[in-house]
Protein backbone atom coordinates (compact mmCIF):
# COMPACT_ATOMS: atom_id res chain seq x y z
CA UNK A 1 0.00 0.00 0.00
CA UNK A 2 2.79 2.40 0.97
CA UNK A 3 4.64 1.49 -2.25
CA UNK A 4 1.59 2.26 -4.35
CA UNK A 5 1.05 5.58 -2.58
CA UNK A 6 4.70 6.57 -3.06
CA UNK A 7 4.48 5.69 -6.76
CA UNK A 8 1.31 7.75 -7.14
CA UNK A 9 2.96 10.67 -5.32
CA UNK A 10 5.95 10.41 -7.66
CA UNK A 11 3.68 10.39 -10.71
CA UNK A 12 1.82 13.47 -9.43
CA UNK A 13 5.14 15.22 -8.70
CA UNK A 14 6.30 14.39 -12.24
CA UNK A 15 3.11 15.81 -13.74
CA UNK A 16 3.60 19.00 -11.71
CA UNK A 17 7.27 19.24 -12.75
CA UNK A 18 6.28 18.98 -16.42
CA UNK A 19 3.18 21.19 -16.09
CA UNK A 20 4.79 24.05 -18.09
CA UNK A 21 4.82 21.94 -21.26
CA UNK A 22 1.02 22.38 -21.37
CA UNK A 23 1.70 25.87 -22.72
CA UNK A 24 4.73 24.94 -24.81
CA UNK A 25 4.71 25.48 -28.54
CA UNK A 26 6.71 23.71 -31.21
CA UNK A 27 10.39 24.32 -30.63
CA UNK A 28 13.56 23.75 -32.63
CA UNK A 29 13.01 20.78 -35.00
CA UNK A 30 9.68 19.61 -33.60
CA UNK A 31 7.96 20.58 -36.85
CA UNK A 32 10.32 18.41 -38.92
CA UNK A 33 9.65 15.32 -36.81
CA UNK A 34 5.94 16.00 -36.64
CA UNK A 35 5.70 16.08 -40.43
CA UNK A 36 5.03 12.32 -40.14
CA UNK A 37 1.69 13.22 -38.56
CA UNK A 38 0.60 15.02 -41.72
CA UNK A 39 1.23 12.35 -44.35
CA UNK A 40 0.59 8.62 -44.84
CA UNK A 41 3.62 6.51 -43.94
CA UNK A 42 5.31 4.27 -46.48
CA UNK A 43 6.63 0.80 -45.72
CA UNK A 44 10.12 2.30 -45.91
CA UNK A 45 9.24 4.84 -43.17
CA UNK A 46 8.05 2.06 -40.89
CA UNK A 47 10.72 -0.54 -41.59
CA UNK A 48 13.68 1.62 -40.66
CA UNK A 49 14.87 2.56 -37.16
CA UNK A 50 12.57 5.18 -35.60
CA UNK A 51 9.67 3.76 -37.62
CA UNK A 52 7.63 3.31 -34.46
CA UNK A 53 8.27 6.91 -33.45
CA UNK A 54 7.04 8.04 -36.88
CA UNK A 55 4.01 5.77 -36.49
CA UNK A 56 3.17 7.28 -33.10
CA UNK A 57 3.12 10.76 -34.66
CA UNK A 58 1.02 9.52 -37.57
CA UNK A 59 -1.52 7.84 -35.28
CA UNK A 60 -1.92 11.09 -33.35
CA UNK A 61 -2.33 12.97 -36.62
CA UNK A 62 -5.02 10.54 -37.80
CA UNK A 63 -6.79 10.77 -34.43
CA UNK A 64 -7.11 14.49 -35.01
CA UNK A 65 -4.40 15.89 -32.75
CA UNK A 66 -4.27 19.63 -33.39
CA UNK A 67 -1.47 21.85 -32.11
CA UNK A 68 1.48 20.79 -30.00
CA UNK A 69 -0.36 19.99 -26.74
CA UNK A 70 -1.51 16.42 -27.57
CA UNK A 71 2.02 15.57 -28.69
CA UNK A 72 3.50 16.96 -25.48
CA UNK A 73 0.93 14.97 -23.48
CA UNK A 74 1.93 11.72 -25.18
CA UNK A 75 5.60 12.45 -24.46
CA UNK A 76 4.85 12.92 -20.76
CA UNK A 77 2.79 9.71 -20.81
CA UNK A 78 5.71 7.85 -22.44
CA UNK A 79 8.01 9.19 -19.71
CA UNK A 80 5.67 7.88 -17.01
CA UNK A 81 5.34 4.52 -18.76
CA UNK A 82 9.12 4.14 -18.98
CA UNK A 83 9.30 4.92 -15.26
CA UNK A 84 6.70 2.30 -14.37
CA UNK A 85 8.43 -0.40 -16.46
CA UNK A 86 11.73 0.69 -14.90
CA UNK A 87 10.16 0.21 -11.46
CA UNK A 88 9.20 -3.32 -12.49
CA UNK A 89 12.83 -4.05 -13.34
CA UNK A 90 14.29 -2.19 -10.36
CA UNK A 91 12.21 -4.13 -7.83
CA UNK A 92 13.66 -7.40 -9.13
CA UNK A 93 17.11 -6.02 -8.32
CA UNK A 94 16.61 -3.92 -5.20
CA UNK A 95 14.39 -3.80 -2.11
CA UNK A 96 11.23 -1.82 -2.91
CA UNK A 97 12.25 1.44 -1.11
CA UNK A 98 15.45 1.64 -3.14
CA UNK A 99 13.62 0.71 -6.36
CA UNK A 100 11.42 3.73 -5.62
CA UNK A 101 14.53 5.89 -5.16
CA UNK A 102 15.76 4.83 -8.62
CA UNK A 103 12.37 5.54 -10.22
CA UNK A 104 12.10 8.89 -8.41
CA UNK A 105 15.46 9.90 -9.83
CA UNK A 106 14.33 8.93 -13.31
CA UNK A 107 10.94 10.66 -13.04
CA UNK A 108 12.17 13.93 -11.56
CA UNK A 109 15.72 14.49 -12.75
CA UNK A 110 15.89 17.59 -15.00
CA UNK A 111 18.48 15.95 -17.26
CA UNK A 112 15.52 14.11 -18.85
CA UNK A 113 13.60 17.32 -19.56
CA UNK A 114 14.78 17.62 -23.15
CA UNK A 115 13.55 14.14 -24.09
CA UNK A 116 10.17 14.81 -22.47
CA UNK A 117 9.51 18.47 -23.31
CA UNK A 118 10.91 18.26 -26.85
CA UNK A 119 8.38 16.42 -28.99
CA UNK A 120 11.19 15.03 -31.15
CA UNK A 121 12.63 13.46 -27.98
CA UNK A 122 9.93 10.79 -28.13
CA UNK A 123 12.32 8.57 -30.08
CA UNK A 124 14.55 8.25 -27.02
CA UNK A 125 11.59 7.59 -24.71
CA UNK A 126 10.30 4.75 -26.91
CA UNK A 127 13.83 3.32 -27.11
CA UNK A 128 14.09 3.48 -23.31
CA UNK A 129 10.70 1.80 -22.97
CA UNK A 130 11.70 -1.12 -25.22
CA UNK A 131 15.15 -1.45 -23.65
CA UNK A 132 13.93 -1.64 -20.06
CA UNK A 133 11.11 -4.02 -21.04
CA UNK A 134 13.60 -6.29 -22.86
CA UNK A 135 15.82 -6.61 -19.78
CA UNK A 136 12.82 -6.98 -17.46
CA UNK A 137 11.36 -9.77 -19.65
CA UNK A 138 14.46 -11.87 -19.01
CA UNK A 139 14.74 -10.95 -15.32
CA UNK A 140 12.38 -13.83 -14.51
CA UNK A 141 12.85 -17.48 -15.50
CA UNK A 142 14.64 -17.78 -18.86
CA UNK A 143 11.94 -19.44 -20.98
CA UNK A 144 11.32 -19.25 -24.73
CA UNK A 145 8.30 -17.08 -23.95
CA UNK A 146 10.50 -14.63 -22.04
CA UNK A 147 13.07 -14.69 -24.87
CA UNK A 148 10.29 -13.91 -27.37
CA UNK A 149 9.05 -11.01 -25.27
CA UNK A 150 12.59 -9.69 -24.92
CA UNK A 151 13.03 -9.87 -28.70
CA UNK A 152 9.74 -8.03 -29.26
CA UNK A 153 10.76 -5.36 -26.74
CA UNK A 154 14.12 -4.97 -28.50
CA UNK A 155 12.32 -4.46 -31.83
CA UNK A 156 10.18 -1.78 -30.12
CA UNK A 157 13.35 -0.16 -28.77
CA UNK A 158 14.87 -0.06 -32.27
CA UNK A 159 11.55 1.20 -33.63
CA UNK A 160 12.01 4.11 -31.24
CA UNK A 161 15.63 4.74 -32.10
CA UNK A 162 18.53 2.76 -33.56
CA UNK A 163 20.45 2.76 -30.25
CA UNK A 164 17.66 0.53 -28.88
CA UNK A 165 19.73 -2.31 -30.33
CA UNK A 166 21.88 -2.11 -27.20
CA UNK A 167 19.02 -3.75 -25.26
CA UNK A 168 20.61 -7.04 -26.33
CA UNK A 169 23.93 -5.99 -24.79
CA UNK A 170 22.14 -5.09 -21.57
CA UNK A 171 20.43 -8.48 -21.47
CA UNK A 172 23.91 -10.03 -21.77
CA UNK A 173 25.18 -7.82 -18.96
CA UNK A 174 22.25 -8.87 -16.77
CA UNK A 175 23.00 -12.53 -17.46
CA UNK A 176 26.67 -12.16 -16.54
CA UNK A 177 26.51 -9.77 -13.56
CA UNK A 178 23.15 -10.51 -11.93
CA UNK A 179 22.38 -14.11 -12.93
CA UNK A 180 26.06 -15.06 -13.05
CA UNK A 181 25.44 -17.31 -16.04
CA UNK A 182 28.70 -19.11 -16.88
CA UNK A 183 28.46 -17.96 -20.49
CA UNK A 184 31.62 -19.61 -21.75
CA UNK A 185 31.69 -22.58 -19.38
CA UNK A 186 28.49 -24.44 -20.23
CA UNK A 187 26.93 -25.39 -23.56
CA UNK A 188 23.64 -23.82 -22.53
CA UNK A 189 25.33 -20.52 -21.63
CA UNK A 190 27.31 -20.52 -24.86
CA UNK A 191 24.11 -21.27 -26.81
CA UNK A 192 22.32 -18.25 -25.30
CA UNK A 193 25.35 -16.05 -25.98
CA UNK A 194 25.59 -17.19 -29.60
CA UNK A 195 21.85 -16.72 -30.10
CA UNK A 196 22.10 -13.20 -28.67
CA UNK A 197 25.07 -12.37 -30.86
CA UNK A 198 23.32 -13.67 -33.99
CA UNK A 199 20.20 -11.62 -33.16
CA UNK A 200 22.40 -8.57 -32.62
CA UNK A 201 24.05 -8.98 -36.04
CA UNK A 202 20.73 -9.58 -37.82
CA UNK A 203 19.19 -6.46 -36.26
CA UNK A 204 22.34 -4.35 -36.66
CA UNK A 205 22.74 -4.87 -40.42
CA UNK A 206 19.67 -2.87 -41.54
CA UNK A 207 20.57 -0.12 -39.08
CA UNK A 208 24.10 0.04 -40.48
CA UNK A 209 22.68 0.25 -43.99
CA UNK A 210 20.00 2.90 -43.38
CA UNK A 211 21.84 5.11 -40.91
CA UNK A 212 25.45 4.96 -42.05
CA UNK A 213 26.31 3.25 -45.35
CA UNK A 214 23.20 4.45 -47.16
CA UNK A 215 23.07 7.91 -45.59
CA UNK A 216 25.07 10.38 -47.63
CA UNK A 217 24.47 13.14 -45.04
CA UNK A 218 26.18 10.98 -42.44
CA UNK A 219 29.30 10.62 -44.55
CA UNK A 220 29.35 14.33 -45.40
CA UNK A 221 28.85 15.60 -41.88
CA UNK A 222 31.16 13.31 -39.92
CA UNK A 223 34.77 14.17 -40.40
CA UNK A 224 36.54 13.83 -37.06
CA UNK A 225 39.08 11.09 -36.58
CA UNK A 226 37.69 8.22 -34.46
CA UNK A 227 40.20 8.86 -31.66
CA UNK A 228 39.50 12.56 -31.40
CA UNK A 229 35.79 11.85 -31.56
CA UNK A 230 35.97 9.26 -28.76
CA UNK A 231 38.07 11.60 -26.59
CA UNK A 232 35.60 14.47 -26.94
CA UNK A 233 32.76 12.05 -26.34
CA UNK A 234 34.44 10.97 -23.06
CA UNK A 235 34.51 14.62 -22.01
CA UNK A 236 30.82 14.91 -22.97
CA UNK A 237 29.97 11.94 -20.76
CA UNK A 238 31.89 13.48 -17.84
CA UNK A 239 30.04 16.79 -18.32
CA UNK A 240 26.67 15.01 -18.39
CA UNK A 241 27.57 12.92 -15.33
CA UNK A 242 28.46 16.18 -13.60
CA UNK A 243 25.06 17.55 -14.55
CA UNK A 244 23.41 14.41 -13.22
CA UNK A 245 25.09 15.10 -9.90
CA UNK A 246 24.54 18.87 -9.91
CA UNK A 247 22.18 19.92 -12.71
CA UNK A 248 23.16 23.55 -13.10
CA UNK A 249 24.55 23.55 -16.65
CA UNK A 250 21.73 21.90 -18.56
CA UNK A 251 21.31 23.23 -22.09
CA UNK A 252 20.05 22.13 -25.47
CA UNK A 253 23.52 22.55 -26.99
CA UNK A 254 26.57 21.80 -24.83
CA UNK A 255 29.91 23.20 -25.97
CA UNK A 256 32.41 20.36 -25.71
CA UNK A 257 34.92 21.40 -28.28
CA UNK A 258 36.92 23.69 -26.05
CA UNK A 259 38.83 20.98 -24.30
CA UNK A 260 42.50 20.15 -24.66
CA UNK A 261 43.66 16.66 -25.56
CA UNK A 262 45.21 16.24 -22.10
CA UNK A 263 41.94 17.00 -20.34
CA UNK A 264 40.09 14.66 -22.70
CA UNK A 265 42.54 11.89 -21.82
CA UNK A 266 41.91 12.54 -18.13
CA UNK A 267 38.16 12.16 -18.77
CA UNK A 268 38.67 8.91 -20.69
CA UNK A 269 40.91 7.67 -17.87
CA UNK A 270 38.27 8.57 -15.27
CA UNK A 271 35.59 6.66 -17.15
CA UNK A 272 37.87 3.65 -17.60
CA UNK A 273 38.78 3.70 -13.90
CA UNK A 274 35.08 3.85 -13.01
CA UNK A 275 34.39 0.79 -15.15
CA UNK A 276 37.30 -1.16 -13.64
CA UNK A 277 36.13 -0.25 -10.12
CA UNK A 278 32.58 -1.31 -10.99
CA UNK A 279 33.82 -4.68 -12.26
CA UNK A 280 35.97 -5.11 -9.15
CA UNK A 281 32.99 -4.80 -6.80
CA UNK A 282 30.68 -7.00 -8.88
CA UNK A 283 30.41 -9.73 -6.21
CA UNK A 284 29.75 -7.38 -3.30
CA UNK A 285 27.56 -4.86 -5.12
CA UNK A 286 26.25 -6.49 -8.31
CA UNK A 287 23.49 -3.92 -8.90
CA UNK A 288 26.02 -1.07 -8.75
CA UNK A 289 28.16 -2.95 -11.29
CA UNK A 290 25.10 -3.65 -13.42
CA UNK A 291 24.03 0.00 -13.35
CA UNK A 292 27.45 1.34 -14.31
CA UNK A 293 27.82 -1.36 -16.95
CA UNK A 294 24.38 -0.37 -18.28
CA UNK A 295 25.58 3.21 -18.80
CA UNK A 296 28.72 1.98 -20.57
CA UNK A 297 26.95 -0.47 -22.87
CA UNK A 298 24.13 1.91 -23.76
CA UNK A 299 26.66 4.61 -24.66
CA UNK A 300 29.04 2.30 -26.52
CA UNK A 301 27.64 3.00 -30.03
CA UNK A 302 28.17 6.72 -29.39
CA UNK A 303 31.89 6.07 -28.91
CA UNK A 304 32.52 3.73 -31.84
CA UNK A 305 30.26 5.24 -34.53
CA UNK A 306 31.24 8.89 -35.00
CA UNK A 307 28.35 11.32 -35.45
CA UNK A 308 28.34 14.95 -36.52
CA UNK A 309 27.38 15.95 -32.97
CA UNK A 310 28.57 14.85 -29.57
CA UNK A 311 26.32 13.56 -26.80
CA UNK A 312 23.53 15.82 -25.70
CA UNK A 313 20.85 15.46 -23.08
CA UNK A 314 18.09 13.66 -25.03
CA UNK A 315 20.51 10.91 -26.03
CA UNK A 316 21.36 9.75 -22.52
CA UNK A 317 17.91 8.96 -21.13
CA UNK A 318 18.24 5.20 -21.71
CA UNK A 319 21.90 5.11 -20.65
CA UNK A 320 21.33 7.03 -17.43
CA UNK A 321 18.66 4.59 -16.27
CA UNK A 322 21.70 2.54 -15.28
CA UNK A 323 23.02 5.50 -13.32
CA UNK A 324 19.77 5.79 -11.35
CA UNK A 325 19.92 2.05 -10.59
CA UNK A 326 23.55 2.28 -9.49
CA UNK A 327 22.82 5.38 -7.36
CA UNK A 328 19.92 3.68 -5.57
CA UNK A 329 22.00 0.54 -5.01
CA UNK A 330 24.92 2.65 -3.80
CA UNK A 331 22.61 4.40 -1.34
CA UNK A 332 21.44 1.01 -0.10
CA UNK A 333 25.01 -0.12 0.57
CA UNK A 334 25.84 3.20 2.23
CA UNK A 335 22.77 2.96 4.45
CA UNK A 336 23.68 -0.60 5.44
CA UNK A 337 27.23 0.49 6.22
CA UNK A 338 26.17 3.47 8.33
CA UNK A 339 23.39 1.73 10.25
CA UNK A 340 25.30 -1.49 10.93
CA UNK A 341 25.74 -2.08 14.68
CA UNK A 342 29.28 -1.20 15.71
CA UNK A 343 31.39 -4.22 16.51
CA UNK A 344 32.58 -3.80 20.07
CA UNK A 345 35.26 -5.94 21.66
CA UNK A 346 33.62 -8.37 24.09
CA UNK A 347 35.14 -10.30 26.91
CA UNK A 348 35.52 -13.95 26.29
CA UNK A 349 33.98 -15.75 29.27
CA UNK A 350 35.58 -19.11 29.79
CA UNK A 351 33.15 -21.55 31.24
CA UNK A 352 34.31 -24.82 32.66
CA UNK A 353 33.38 -27.96 30.78
CA UNK A 354 30.21 -29.59 32.05
CA UNK A 355 30.84 -32.07 34.81
CA UNK A 356 30.09 -35.47 33.60
CA UNK A 357 27.47 -37.11 35.65
CA UNK A 358 28.32 -40.51 34.40
CA UNK A 359 30.42 -42.65 36.68
Amino acid sequence: MRTRLTLIALIVATLVAYAPVRYAGLVYEDGVYMSFAQRPLTFEDLAQPRGLTALSFRVQGVLGAVGPQPYHAVNVACHLLVGLIFFGLARTLLPVPYALVAVGLYFLHPINTEAVAYIAGRAELIAAMGTVAAVWALAGPATWMAAGLAFLATVIAIGGKETGLMALGLIGLYAVVIRRVPVLRTWRGAGWALGGLATFVVLALPILQTRILGAIEYLLMTERTPVRYALTQAYAVVVLLGNALWPSGLTVDHDYEFLTRGWALVCLGLLAAGLVAAWWIRRRAPVVTFGIGWVAIALLPRFVVPQSEHLNEPQIVTAFLGLWLASAAGLMHLNAFVTAAPKEAVWDAVSPPPVSSSP
Binding site: Y18, L250, S308
Partner: protein, 167 residues
Protein backbone atom coordinates in the same frame (compact mmCIF):
# COMPACT_ATOMS: atom_id res chain seq x y z
CA UNK B 1 15.83 2.59 5.03
CA UNK B 2 16.77 4.87 7.93
CA UNK B 3 14.96 8.15 8.60
CA UNK B 4 17.91 10.41 7.71
CA UNK B 5 18.21 8.63 4.36
CA UNK B 6 14.48 9.05 3.72
CA UNK B 7 14.83 12.77 4.50
CA UNK B 8 17.78 13.13 2.12
CA UNK B 9 15.89 11.30 -0.66
CA UNK B 10 12.78 13.48 -0.20
CA UNK B 11 14.90 16.66 -0.28
CA UNK B 12 16.68 15.45 -3.43
CA UNK B 13 13.37 14.65 -5.13
CA UNK B 14 12.00 18.10 -4.26
CA UNK B 15 15.12 19.86 -5.56
CA UNK B 16 15.17 17.80 -8.76
CA UNK B 17 11.45 18.30 -9.35
CA UNK B 18 11.80 22.06 -8.92
CA UNK B 19 14.72 22.17 -11.35
CA UNK B 20 12.74 20.10 -13.84
CA UNK B 21 9.87 22.57 -13.56
CA UNK B 22 12.27 25.42 -14.35
CA UNK B 23 13.82 23.51 -17.28
CA UNK B 24 10.33 22.73 -18.65
CA UNK B 25 9.64 26.46 -18.76
CA UNK B 26 12.79 26.97 -20.84
CA UNK B 27 11.37 24.48 -23.35
CA UNK B 28 8.18 26.52 -23.83
CA UNK B 29 9.45 28.66 -26.70
CA UNK B 30 12.32 28.89 -29.14
CA UNK B 31 13.35 32.24 -27.73
CA UNK B 32 13.62 30.97 -24.13
CA UNK B 33 15.41 27.83 -25.27
CA UNK B 34 18.05 29.51 -27.40
CA UNK B 35 18.52 32.47 -25.05
CA UNK B 36 19.40 29.92 -22.37
CA UNK B 37 21.66 27.99 -24.78
CA UNK B 38 23.50 31.13 -25.92
CA UNK B 39 24.07 32.09 -22.28
CA UNK B 40 25.49 28.66 -21.45
CA UNK B 41 27.50 28.09 -24.64
CA UNK B 42 28.34 31.62 -25.83
CA UNK B 43 31.19 30.47 -28.08
CA UNK B 44 29.07 28.11 -30.16
CA UNK B 45 27.51 29.42 -33.40
CA UNK B 46 24.35 27.26 -33.40
CA UNK B 47 22.65 28.79 -30.34
CA UNK B 48 23.22 32.26 -31.81
CA UNK B 49 21.82 31.25 -35.21
CA UNK B 50 18.69 29.85 -33.60
CA UNK B 51 18.37 32.74 -31.14
CA UNK B 52 18.54 35.14 -34.08
CA UNK B 53 15.78 33.23 -35.88
CA UNK B 54 13.62 33.34 -32.74
CA UNK B 55 14.22 37.10 -32.45
CA UNK B 56 13.29 37.51 -36.11
CA UNK B 57 10.05 35.62 -35.46
CA UNK B 58 9.34 37.98 -32.57
CA UNK B 59 9.93 40.96 -34.89
CA UNK B 60 13.05 42.26 -33.11
CA UNK B 61 15.14 42.67 -36.25
CA UNK B 62 17.91 44.78 -34.64
CA UNK B 63 18.70 42.16 -32.03
CA UNK B 64 18.28 39.42 -34.63
CA UNK B 65 20.87 41.07 -36.86
CA UNK B 66 23.29 41.31 -33.93
CA UNK B 67 22.81 37.65 -33.09
CA UNK B 68 23.31 36.64 -36.74
CA UNK B 69 26.53 38.66 -36.82
CA UNK B 70 27.73 37.00 -33.61
CA UNK B 71 27.03 33.58 -35.14
CA UNK B 72 28.95 34.53 -38.27
CA UNK B 73 31.92 35.74 -36.24
CA UNK B 74 31.98 32.48 -34.27
CA UNK B 75 31.85 30.33 -37.39
CA UNK B 76 35.54 30.59 -38.16
CA UNK B 77 36.93 28.95 -35.04
CA UNK B 78 39.40 26.20 -35.96
CA UNK B 79 38.10 24.01 -33.11
CA UNK B 80 34.93 23.43 -35.12
CA UNK B 81 34.92 20.79 -37.83
CA UNK B 82 35.21 21.98 -41.41
CA UNK B 83 31.55 21.07 -41.95
CA UNK B 84 30.43 23.04 -38.88
CA UNK B 85 32.48 26.10 -39.92
CA UNK B 86 31.16 25.99 -43.45
CA UNK B 87 27.52 25.42 -42.52
CA UNK B 88 27.49 28.06 -39.77
CA UNK B 89 29.08 30.68 -42.02
CA UNK B 90 26.75 29.96 -44.97
CA UNK B 91 23.65 29.90 -42.75
CA UNK B 92 24.62 33.12 -40.97
CA UNK B 93 25.38 34.98 -44.22
CA UNK B 94 22.09 33.81 -45.75
CA UNK B 95 20.19 34.91 -42.65
CA UNK B 96 21.93 38.29 -42.56
CA UNK B 97 21.02 38.78 -46.24
CA UNK B 98 17.40 37.97 -45.46
CA UNK B 99 17.26 40.50 -42.61
CA UNK B 100 18.89 43.09 -44.90
CA UNK B 101 16.22 42.40 -47.53
CA UNK B 102 13.41 42.68 -44.98
CA UNK B 103 14.77 46.01 -43.76
CA UNK B 104 14.85 47.46 -47.26
CA UNK B 105 18.52 46.94 -48.12
CA UNK B 106 17.80 44.72 -51.13
CA UNK B 107 20.96 45.52 -53.08
CA UNK B 108 23.24 44.54 -50.22
CA UNK B 109 21.11 41.44 -49.61
CA UNK B 110 21.31 40.40 -53.26
CA UNK B 111 25.07 40.84 -53.28
CA UNK B 112 25.46 38.71 -50.16
CA UNK B 113 23.24 35.94 -51.51
CA UNK B 114 25.15 35.95 -54.82
CA UNK B 115 28.33 35.56 -52.82
CA UNK B 116 26.94 32.64 -50.78
CA UNK B 117 25.71 30.88 -53.91
CA UNK B 118 29.09 31.33 -55.59
CA UNK B 119 30.75 29.67 -52.59
CA UNK B 120 28.12 26.94 -52.20
CA UNK B 121 25.93 26.53 -55.31
CA UNK B 122 23.93 23.74 -53.68
CA UNK B 123 23.03 25.59 -50.48
CA UNK B 124 19.25 25.40 -50.82
CA UNK B 125 18.37 28.15 -48.33
CA UNK B 126 20.43 30.77 -50.17
CA UNK B 127 18.85 29.76 -53.49
CA UNK B 128 15.36 30.01 -52.02
CA UNK B 129 15.98 33.39 -50.39
CA UNK B 130 17.41 34.79 -53.62
CA UNK B 131 14.30 33.60 -55.48
CA UNK B 132 12.05 35.33 -52.91
CA UNK B 133 14.17 38.49 -53.06
CA UNK B 134 14.01 38.61 -56.88
CA UNK B 135 10.23 38.15 -56.71
CA UNK B 136 10.02 41.08 -54.28
CA UNK B 137 12.10 43.15 -56.69
CA UNK B 138 9.60 42.34 -59.47
CA UNK B 139 11.91 39.85 -61.21
CA UNK B 140 10.07 36.69 -60.27
CA UNK B 141 10.89 34.83 -63.49
CA UNK B 142 14.62 35.37 -62.84
CA UNK B 143 14.23 33.65 -59.48
CA UNK B 144 12.38 30.59 -60.76
CA UNK B 145 15.50 28.46 -61.45
CA UNK B 146 16.77 29.19 -57.92
CA UNK B 147 13.43 28.21 -56.39
CA UNK B 148 13.22 25.02 -58.45
CA UNK B 149 16.74 23.98 -57.48
CA UNK B 150 16.04 24.75 -53.80
CA UNK B 151 12.92 22.58 -53.90
CA UNK B 152 14.89 19.83 -55.61
CA UNK B 153 17.58 19.96 -52.90
CA UNK B 154 15.16 20.24 -49.97
CA UNK B 155 11.58 19.05 -50.44
CA UNK B 156 10.41 20.95 -47.36
CA UNK B 157 10.28 24.25 -49.32
CA UNK B 158 6.81 25.18 -50.50
CA UNK B 159 5.78 25.53 -54.16
CA UNK B 160 7.06 28.73 -55.79
CA UNK B 161 4.97 30.32 -58.51
CA UNK B 162 5.06 33.71 -60.18
CA UNK B 163 1.85 35.68 -60.42
CA UNK B 164 0.56 36.10 -64.01
CA UNK B 165 2.00 39.21 -65.57
CA UNK B 166 5.08 39.35 -63.36
CA UNK B 167 8.43 39.29 -65.08
Amino acid sequence: MSRPVIAVVLCAWCALGTTTYMRSRVWQSDFALWRDAADKAPQKPRPWINLALALEQAGDLDQAMRAHQTALALSFQPRLTEYQQRFSALASETNIARVLAITGQETAAKRMLDDVITKAPLFAHARWNRAVLLARLGRCEDGLPDAQLAKQLDASFQEFACAPGSR
